[in-house]
C-alpha cells in the first residue's frame, strides 16, 4: 500500500493511547449498536464503520476544538471521535428522548454543534458543498477554524463532489476532504463504475490539488496525514483531498450481509483490521499489556453503561413533532 506522507516527528505516547482508545470506543459502540438492531431496539437503518475506525479516530485527535466535522450517514465513528457522549448517540439510534437530537434525526443525521459535529448528511455529495460554506465563514472571519468532510469512494462520481472540490480550490478554503475508499459504493465495486483507479486521488490534479493516497487502516499514518492537512488548511494554504484506503467489515447497511464480496478479499482485509494492528503496534512500542487491558476493560464498561442509560430514556414527547422547523422553535406557516 502506498503512502505519500513524509516522515513527521514521532507521535507522542499519549496521542497514541488516545488513538487507540477512540478506535476501541468506536469498535465496541458499533458492535453494540449492531446487537441492538438484532433485538429490534434500534429501528430503521444504520451504516457501520467497523474496519474503518482509524480514519475517524485520527482526525478526531488531529482536529482542534472549534474545528468542524461534516459526516455522512456512516457517521457514528466520526461523531464519537469529537467527544460526543456514547449515551446520546445510542439513544438517538434507539429513537429516545435522551438522543443526541431528541430522536428527530436518527442514525444517519448525527449532529452535535457543541462538539463541532455540524451534521451527518445522507444525500451523497451534498455535504462537501456545505463544508465549504463553514470553511468560507472561517476564512472570512479569520477564525482559524478548519472544516473536515468525510465521504466514500462512491461519492467521487456525483456532481456535487466536483463542484465542491473545484470551489474550495478556487476560493482556497480551509477544508479537508477525506475520501474513505472502502472499495464499494453500496453493492457495486467502485472500480466497475469509475474511469480512474484512484477515485479521489486521480481526480485531484483536475482541481490543482496533490494526489494523496494513504493506508486508512494505520492510525499513525492517518494521524500524520490528518495533522498535515489540517495544518495546511489552518495556515491558509487551502484545501486537501485525501484518499484513505480501507474496508468495511460488514455490509453497506443493516439490510446488507455483504455477500457480493469475495471471501479472499474479506479475509485479506480482516488481516489488516486497524484495531488489533494498532494494539500490536503499541505493544511493540513497549506499552505494557496490562495498561491496554485496563483501557479495553474501561471502554467495554463505558459501552455497557451507555447502553443502560440509552435504554432507560423515554420515547420523545409528541410535541417534538411540530417543533423547530423555524428558529422560533415552531412550525407555523400562517397567521
Amino acid at each position: 500500500m502506498t503512502s505519500t506522507v513524509p516522515d513527521l516527528p514521532d507521535i507522542a505516547s499519549e496521542t497514541r493511547m488516545e488513538l487507540y482508545r477512540l478506535q476501541l470506543e468506536m469498535r465496541h459502540f458499533e458492535k453494540r449498536a449492531y446487537d441492538l438492531f438484532m433485538q429490534s431496539l434500534v429501528k430503521g437503518t444504520s451504516h457501520l464503520s467497523l474496519g474503518q475506525e482509524a480514519i475517524a479516530a485520527a482526525f478526531g485527535v488531529a482536529m482542534m476544538p472549534g474545528d468542524w466535522t461534516f459526516a455522512t450517514y456512516r457517521g457514528h465513528a466520526h461523531t464519537l471521535a469529537r467527544g460526543v457522549p456514547m449515551t446520546a448517540v445510542l439513544a438517538e439510534l434507539m429513537g429516545r428522548a435522551n438522543g443526541l437530537m431528541g430522536g428527530k434525526g436518527g442514525s444517519m443525521h448525527l449532529t452535535s454543534v457543541e462538539h463541532g459535529v455540524m451534521g451527518s448528511y445522507a444525500i451523497i455529495g451534498a455535504h462537501l458543498t456545505i463544508a465549504n460554506g463553514a470553511a468560507w465563514s472561517a476564512q472570512y472571519r479569520r477564525s482559524g477554524q478548519v472544516a473536515v468532510c468525510f465521504f466514500g469512494d462512491g461519492t467521487t462520481n456525483i456532481g456535487a463532489f466536483h463542484e465542491a472540490v473545484n470551489f474550495a480550490a478556487v476560493w482556497k478554503l480551509p477544508v479537508v476532504f477525506v475520501c474513505e475508499n472502502n472499495l464499494y459504493m453500496e453493492y457495486t465495486p467502485i472500480a466497475a463504475v469509475t474511469a480512474v483507479d484512484r477515485p479521489a486521488a486521480d481526480r485531484a490534479a483536475a482541481y490543482g490539488l496533490e494526489p494523496v493516497v494513504v493506508d486508512g487502516n494505520d492510525a499513525d499514518v492517518m494521524y500524520q496525514t490528518a495533522v498535515r492537512a489540517v495544518e495546511r488548511a489552518r495556515s491558509g494554504a487551502g484545501p486537501s483531498l485525501i484518499e484513505a484506503l480501507t474496508y468495511r467489515h460488514g455490509g453497506h447497511s443493516r439490510a446488507d450481509p455483504g455477500k457480493y464480496r469475495p471471501a479472499e478479499e474479506i479475509a485479506a482485509w480482516l488481516e489488516r483490521d486497524p484495531v488489533p494492528l494498532y494494539r500490536s503496534r503499541l505493544l511493540s512500542l513497549g506499552v505494557p499489556r496490562a495498561e491496554l487491558e485496563r483501557l479495553e476493560q474501561a471502554v467495554a464498561e463505558a459501552v455497557d453503561l451507555a447502553t443502560e442509560e440509552a435504554k432507560a430514556g423515554p420515547p420523545p414527547a409528541p410535541e417534538l413533532l411540530m417543533s423547530d422547523v423555524w428558529a422560533d422553535g415552531g412550525s407555523s406557516w400562517r397567521n
Binding site: W68, M101, G102, K104, G105, G106, H109, T111, S112, V113, M118, G119, Y121, I123, G125, A126, H127, L128, T129, I130, A131, N132, G133, A134, A135, W136, S137, A138, Y140, R141, Q145, A147, G159, A160, E163, A164, N166, F167, V170, W171, L320, S323, D324, V325, W326, A327, D328, G329, S331, S332, W333, R334, N335
Partner: protein
C-alpha cells in the same frame, strides 16, 4: 421619495443590509464584477470588496451549499440563482439540506440565509428560463417564500429576509426589473408574512403575486369602469402566509379570484382556495376561480407566451363572467 427601478431596488436593499451588518455576504454567478446578468447588483463589489461580494463558478450546488454552511457558522449569506428554473440543479441543497437540517438536528442549527432568483416569464426566453417556480418552494416545509411586486417591497422584504433567522427564497420577477416605483428615502424594512391590500372594492377579491399584481390592478381598474369593484391583495409572502388578510377580504367581498403565474397544478392559489373554502365557506357567494398559466411548459414565441400567462384581459373576462 424617489423613482427607482425594481432592479435598482435589489442593489439598494443588499447595500442597506451589508452596511448595517458585516456578517452579510453575497455570492453568485457573475454577480460581483459584472453586476449580475440582470444588472441588479452593480456597485456592490466596489463598495463592499471582494471578500464580501464574490463571483462563483457555474456550480449551483456549490453556491447554495456554501451559503448553507456559512449560515450555520455565523454569517448571513445572500446567494443568487440566476434564473429560478436553475433551482432544479441544486434542489437537493434547498429541500433536503437547508430546509430539513434545523428540524432533524432538533434545533441545533439555524439558517439565516436568502436565496434570490429571477423568476417568471414574459421575456420570450422559452421554457427553461421562464417558469414561475414559487409553488415548488411553497411545497417544502422549512422554507420561507417571498415574491415582491414593486421596488419598495423589494427593499423592505429583502431587508426583512436578510434579518430573518430562517432560510428565505426570494423570487424577483424578471419582467419587473425595469418597472419603476416610488420608494421612500432612508432605511426600509418590511415584515415577512404580510399581504398588502392595494385597493378595496365590495364585489370580489383578486389575490395576485409578483408580476401578476400590476395586471390584477389594471384589471380592477377596467372592471371598475364596468361597474365591478374589486379588492386587490398583493400576497407578497407565500410562507408565512397572511391568511388573516385573505380571509378578511374574502369575507367582505364574497368572492375570491387568484391570479397565478405558476402552472396550474398545485399552484399557490390552490392552497388559498382550500383555506378559504374550509374557513369561510359560508361567506362565499360563488365558486373560487383560479386564473393561472395552463399546465404546459412556457413557449418562446411572443404570441404564444402572451396567451399562456394570465393577462389583464383574461382577468377582466374571468371576473366579469363570474361576478357580472
Amino acid at each position: 421619495m424617489a423613482q427607482l427601478t425594481y432592479r435598482a431596488a435589489v442593489a439598494r436593499a443588499i447595500a442597506q443590509e451589508m452596511r448595517r451588518d458585516d456578517s452579510v455576504v453575497f455570492l453568485g454567478e457573475d454577480v460581483a464584477a459584472a453586476g449580475g446578468v440582470f444588472k441588479a447588483t452593480p456597485g456592490l463589489l466596489d463598495e463592499f470588496g471582494a471578500e464580501r461580494v464574490r463571483d462563483t463558478p457555474i456550480s449551483e450546488q456549490a453556491i447554495l451549499g456554501a451559503a448553507m454552511g456559512a449560515a450555520m457558522t455565523g454569517l448571513r449569506p445572500i446567494a443568487e440563482i440566476m434564473f429560478a428554473d436553475f433551482f432544479a440543479v441544486a434542489w437537493d441543497i434547498v429541500v433536503n439540506e437547508i430546509a430539513k437540517s434545523r428540524y432533524m438536528t432538533n434545533g441545533q442549527v439555524s439558517f439565516p440565509l436568502v436565496i434570490r432568483s429571477g423568476n417568471g416569464g414574459g421575456l420570450r426566453f422559452g421554457a427553461q428560463h421562464s417558469q414561475s417556480v414559487e409553488n415548488w418552494a411553497m411545497a417544502v416545509p422549512g422554507l420561507k417564500v417571498i415574491a415582491p411586486s414593486n421596488p419598495r417591497d423589494v427593499i423592505g422584504l429583502l431587508a426583512a429576509a436578510v434579518r430573518d433567522p430562517d432560510p428565505v427564497l426570494f423570487f424577483e420577477h424578471k419582467a419587473l426589473y425595469a418597472a419603476k416605483g416610488e420608494v421612500p428615502d432612508g432605511e426600509i424594512v418590511d415584515e415577512l408574512g404580510t399581504a398588502r391590500v392595494l385597493r378595496r372594492g365590495r364585489d370580489c377579491t383578486i389575490a395576485a403575486l409578483g408580476a401578476m399584481v400590476p395586471r390584477a390592478l389594471a384589471a380592477a381598474g377596467q372592471l371598475s369602469s364596468q361597474g365591478i369593484e374589486a379588492t386587490v391583495v398583493d400576497v407578497r409572502s407565500l410562507v408565512p402566509l397572511d391568511t388573516a388578510t385573505i380571509l378578511e377580504t374574502v369575507a367582505a367581498t364574497g368572492r375570491l379570484f387568484t391570479v397565478e403565474e405558476n402552472p396550474r397544478l398545485c399552484g399557490w392559489g390552490a392552497e388559498l382556495a382550500s383555506i378559504v373554502s374550509e374557513e369561510c365557506f359560508h361567506d362565499l357567494d360563488g365558486p373560487i376561480v383560479r386564473i393561472t398559466t395552463p399546465h404546459v411548459p412556457l413557449p418562446a414565441a411572443d404570441v404564444l407566451e402572451d396567451i399562456a400567462l394570465p393577462s389583464v384581459a383574461r382577468v377582466v373576462e374571468s371576473v366579469r363572467t363570474a361576478v357580472g
